[in-house]
Amino acid sequence: MTDDKARDDTIIVECTLDEPPEQVWRALTEPALLAAWLMPNDIRPEVGDHFVLQGDADTGGTIDCEVLAAEPHHLLRYSWRGGEGRLDTVVTFELSGTPSGGTHLRIVHDGFATEPVHGTVTMLAVAPRRPPTRTVMQAGLRLAA
């Protein structure tokens, strides 16, 4: 598991799982399975579907999500918006098979300092990052360090 610190406003977590992508996909997209490791939810892995993750204090309450991309066994991306619009971020799950039959899972959580999404789903899906924002964050973080 690695955590890329190079991009200060993006969280990247990677891991290798023993199970194949088909099985990991189920754990990411079936409500009961997803609830067992993430949060209670009503996910349907179809682009445009809105669902809710019932978060607790850890996540600042309920997370509103919209599926932005769903390619079975490969890619799942949804918006991750904290209750009352506090956070407006995007989470991407990338799955790839490993030679030993397992799955390499890469989770990218970004958009911590971007504009509200409102109707710009396509743009976000194509270009999830906006360089100026990253520069801002890095400038600020350098000062904060």
Binding site: L17, A36, H109, F112, P116
Partner: protein, 104 residues
Amino acid sequence: MVETEIFRALADPTRRAIFERLARREMSVSELKAGFDVSQPAISQHLAALRGVGLVAERREGKFAYYRVDPKGLAPLVNWIDRYRTFWPARIDKLKDVLKGMGK
């Protein structure tokens, strides 16, 4: 919540650019205006918004005012990111348990 306001303040491209310039060095309003195609009152308004959420600090010297980035301002945002930095690895551990429990 403070984070919302910070997100909102930085959502405006001009404001973001102002913040970025001030991150490099302290400037007066007229110095800042030199780089932008906006009026001085507009710059002042953006500065007020940035100061309002604690991203920018003002220093007065006689009748002149100088602005710089307040390093503490981004802290609430950094806290959110830090929270999720530990959140995801912890959830992956749970995911591994769930996968084991599913059988093949």
